[in-house]
């Protein structure tokens, strides 16, 4: 298969970027999208041109490193799945494919298709954890957790932290990411002691990092490779209201 690629090139954070056209030929339909970019990079190298910088690691859809917007869609056309799980057979032979980084104000571009997503780590650092010192945990079966709650917690915890939710959102909101963590921990009894402070702090940092607000467009849910349901956002809103009321009542 042959493709015309229009790829975002940007030297560094400060520089202006632009779309540059490249042709790739004789690509097997069984090539993954990222392998197709590997092939292009080999060709560029042979021509003495600088390869295109893009991030990937596990290449099996779980580490959340790869982060491309393909023809305007975060992670490309084959949902649910990360870019590394996308194969060229999903494209028409001869197609023109536009490849850009995730575009979110809070994810500055490092180079070409590589972005800086440390803002997501800072949201978790604000409170996305349970304080549990190694050595002090009680016997694991001493607190039964209803299977239904455990299953819902697992569904929310499946988030791979890629940031596609924010990239797909017209407001650049990280609500799906933040809500998934808040829901996961609020659904488990072990998460209850820090429930209020957690949601308040995480939302505060999310706002401070420059992510936008949620206006319920559900674009996030549509592109999420881990199939996180947008219902976790409603859960976060309830948790937030509850925490704010409690805090208000306590003052």
């Amino acid at each position: 298969m042959n493709f015309r690629l229009r790829i975002w090139r940007q030297k560094n954070r400060q520089a202006h970027g632009k779309l540059v056209d490249y042709d790739v030929r004789d690509i097997s339909p069984n090539t993954s999208f990222l392998e197709m970019l590997d092939i292009l990079n080999e060709n560029l190298l042979q021509r003495g041109e600088e390869p295109i910088a893009f991030d990937s690691d596990c290449r099996e859809g779980i580490c959340g490193t790869c982060s491309l917007t393909i023809n305007g869609e975060a992670h490309g056309p084959d949902h649910p799945g990360a870019v590394c799980e996308l194969y060229m057979r999903k494209f028409r032979d001869g197609a023109t494919i536009t490849i850009e980084p995730f575009r979110v104000g809070a994810f500055p571009i490092v180079k070409d298709l590589v972005i800086d997503r440390t803002a997501l780590d800072r949201i978790v650092q604000a409170g996305g954890f349970i304080s549990a010192r190694a050595g002090s945990a009680p016997e694991a079966n001493s607190i039964p957790v209803p299977k239904h709650d455990a299953d819902l917690a697992m569904e929310a915890a499946a988030c791979i932290g890629c940031g596609a939710c924010a990239a797909a959102c017209p407001n650049g909101s990280a609500m799906l990411f933040t809500s998934a963590k808040v829901s996961h921990l609020a659904l488990l009894p072990q998460g209850h002691p820090e429930r209020e402070s957690r949601v308040l702090k995480m939302v505060q940092v999310m706002d401070a990092e420059g992510f936008g607000n949620c206006t319920n467009t559900y674009e996030c849910e549509a592109v999420c490779p881990a199939e996180i349901s947008a219902s976790v956002i409603a859960k976060l809103n309830r948790e937030y209201a509850r925490a704010a009321l409690q805090r208000g009542a306590g003052e």
């Binding site: 097997s28 339909p29 069984n30 090539t31 993954s32 990222l34 392998e35 590997d38 092939i39 080999e42 190298l45 042979q46 600088e50 390869p51 910088a53 990937s56 690691d57 596990c58 290449r59 099996e60 779980i62 580490c63 959340g64 490193t65 084959d78 799945g81 799980e85 194969y87 490092v110 590589v114 800086d116 997503r117 440390t118 997501l120 780590d121 650092q125 604000a126 954890f129 349970i130 304080s131 549990a132 190694a134 050595g135 945990a137 694991a140 079966n141 039964p144 957790v145 209803p146 299977k147 455990a150 299953d151 697992m154 915890a157 499946a158 932290g161 996961h184 488990l188 072990q190 998460g191």
Partner: protein, 640 residues
């Protein structure tokens, strides 16, 4: 320089060694802990749990990872589960049984005391993870669920869907985030360790390069902990992440740390086969598929290009069922991997390149119905379809073995400290617990055991004698190491040849896969030992890396790793040649039973082989640590 290897295994009965050892380890008082800086390289299950726990104890920790976030370390990709001897199923499990299964599974090439301790702390890991909010599978009564895994006779595996590694990693990532917020841990993402700094014989720092800016930095510490994973990517294609590499452990080896059992690598039988030359990585399919799938290839090699449904039943060779009637398609990992290689070597392999065998669900679908198979394996069939574009409900899957774990690693004593004082090695990066073959669901257990429950006891024992001995990063040893790192980067850039990095790495991978993969023999290993240096020569005379060192440069960072693989591969083959026996995943064709099974030589090879770096161009020096078995009796495995 090194005398006899001393593993420092405590005296006393096996089940009391760890407890009594802990009673006598030196402590660091709470107000002194903040005076110590500990460097942790790697943020997976081992590194993440160690950094978080040491931070919580009050030490100042610097944690480094090459990924853009510690949450992306390759532990994230582990699927199956984590073992523990809780005996929640009341089916007769115990610490002793988990210990015995692990040491037997490792084909009696690991230390009794280490493995027993691993089994002992396994239960604490489950308690810790549940408390952190890891959403393990549960039963309707709200208690934790277990499954049987990898042929174990008891159900001791805890799991979170097919994403156990991810959930455990997020547990320790979150604990790490809490310490980062508290200021006890300073995190350095996108930063790679390029050298170890040894001062007066002690590991006291590292040299790093920022993968963002290219900036080279010196970091001094009171101790260095390596948790940098395995070296499976020496084969180019493996189930490891693209970035996984041997550089940190290999650089430590070149600074004097011993590398133990490097030839012991595990090959997983059920992966999706290679589809083309540009494939960058292999994907594991859960072994559970073999519960219902039947493995076969055509009897005649002329039939290998035919569509599978055109090959009648009598023309098929269900070779695992034929060779191992009692285990059949469930024969252990190493056995079924080698059997697949054999039939493909005979020219009967299927799919592109002829390196694949069928895993056929037609009989199971006929017997149980498509819905049942969908319930059991639906998500795996989806993954398979995404990658191959084939519907495995209609045509048989194609599978082939792939490298996915390395049992070898830096040599450590019972305290997880290498022969270089102050250098600790944990998780897959060390060699200690899995012998010649790792059992399923044991990797996650070991990483977390080391990080949460062993290192936090043994590291202070070292630090207690190191008060105020941290050197300045301006000391001559640091300057020298930094200079060498810079010179090496420049040397790579100066080659300015014609060959791409991937083509060299791919050639190395094919060579090692062929000569030091699923089966090895002396002649092939000697050939590899001639070819690897030639390929290394190709690299240093003809590799093409563009750009410069003071910038974001992905080709350069990969080039440094491939350069180390090109040296490390030679060490691997040397070790495989020296281990003149078959054991576990190490199958030397010269040493097999008349039935073609691995034949150990306990008399001469019940030992750890630990290699000491000499100068470049000199063969490494071998140190043997004899393994003493006081509790278990050595037996021959049989699967007929």
């Amino acid at each position: 320089m090194i005398g006899t290897l001393h593993a420092k295994i405590p005296h006393g009965p096996l089940d009391q060694k760890w407890r009594s050892h802990r009673d006598h380890l030196r402590l660091v008082s709470p107000n002194n802990r903040r005076k110590f800086e500990v460097i942790v390289v790697g943020s997976g299950l081992a590194g993440g749990s160690a950094a978080a726990t040491l931070g919580e104890l009050g030490y100042r920790v610097k944690c480094f990872c090459f990924q853009d976030s510690p949450r992306r370390a390759h532990s994230v990709a582990a699927q199956g589960g984590i073992n523990a001897a809780k005996n929640y199923q009341n089916d007769g499990d115990s610490v002793y049984r988990l210990f015995y299964d692990t040491i037997k599974g490792g084909d009696f090439r690991s230390r009794e005391a280490n493995v027993y301790r691993l089994a002992e702390v396994s239960n604490q890991i489950i308690d810790q993870c549940v408390e952190q909010g890891v959403p393990f599978a549960r039963e309707y009564g709200g208690l934790l669920a277990n499954r049987s895994f990898g042929g174990a006779q008891v159900s001791r595996t805890f799991y979170a869907r097919g994403q156990t590694g991810q959930q455990l990693l997020l547990g320790c990532y979150q604990a790490l985030c809490r310490q980062i917020a508290a200021g006890t841990v300073q995190m350095f993402p996108y930063t790679e360790m390029l050298d170890l700094v040894v001062v007066d014989g002690h590991a006291k720092g590292i040299i790093t390069r920022s993968l963002r800016s290219g900036k080279i930095d010196r970091h001094a510490g009171d101790a260095v902990v390596l948790a940098t994973g395995g070296y499976g990517n020496v084969y180019y294609l493996s189930t490891n992440a693209r970035g996984s590499n041997v550089t940190a452990t290999y650089r430590a080896y070149k600074r004097g740390a011993l590398f133990a059992n490097p030839c012991l690598t595990q090959i997983h039988p059920t992966c999706i086969p290679v589809s083309g030359e540009h494939q960058a990585k292999l994907t594991l399919m859960s072994e559970s598929l073999r519960n219902d799938g039947r493995v076969w290839v055509p009897k005649r090699k002329e039939d290998r290009q035919k569509a599978p449904n055109q090959i009648p039943e009598k023309e098929r060779d269900y070779y695992l069922e034929r060779k191992y009637p009692s285990y059949g398609n469930l024969a252990p990992r190493d056995i079924s991997s080698r059997a697949a290689k054999e039939v493909c070597d005979e020219g009967r392999g299927v799919g592109p390149g002829g390196r694949g065998v069928y895993l056929d669900f037609a009989d199971a679908i006929k017997r149980l119905g498509e819905d049942t198979i969908r319930d059991r394996y639906g998500n795996l069939f989806e993954v398979y379809e995404k990658i191959t574009g084939e519907d495995a409900y209609k045509v048989p899957m194609r599978i082939y073995p792939a490298v996915h774990y390395t049992m070898g690693g830096l040599w450590v004593d019972y305290d997880l400290m290498s022969n270089v004082p102050g250098l600790f090695v944990i998780g897959e990066a060390n060699f200690s617990d899995h012998g010649a073959n790792r059992l399923g669901a044991s990797a996650l257990m070991q990483g977390l055991a080391d990080g949460y429950f062993i290192l936090p006891y043994t590291l202070p024992n070292y630090l207690a004698g190191q008060m105020a001995k941290r050197p300045s990063p301006d000391s001559p040893e640091f300057k020298k190491a930094e200079g060498e790192v810079r010179a090496r980067i420049q040397k790579i850039l100066d080659v300015d040849g014609k060959r791409s990095l991937d083509s060299i790495h791919r050639e190395l991978g094919l060579l090692i896969w062929d000569k030091c993969g699923m089966s090895r023999h002396a002649k092939g290993l000697r050939e590899a030992l001639v070819k690897v240096p030639k390929l290394r020569e190709q690299f240093w005379s003809n590799v093409r890396v563009l750009g410069n060192g003071e910038d974001f440069n992905q080709s350069l960072e990969r080039a440094g790793r491939v350069a180390d693989f090109l040296e490390f591969a030679e060490l691997m083959c040397t070790d495989a040649l020296e281990r003149n026996e078959s054991c576990g995943a190490h199958f030397r064709e010269e040493h097999q039973t008349p039935e073609g099974e691995a034949l150990r030589d306990d008399e001469n090879h019940a030992a750890v082989f630990a290699w000491e770096f000499q100068d470049d161009g000199q063969p490494p020096k071998l140190h043997r640590e004899p393994l003493h078995f006081e509790t278990v009796h050595l037996t021959q495995r049989s699967y007929k």
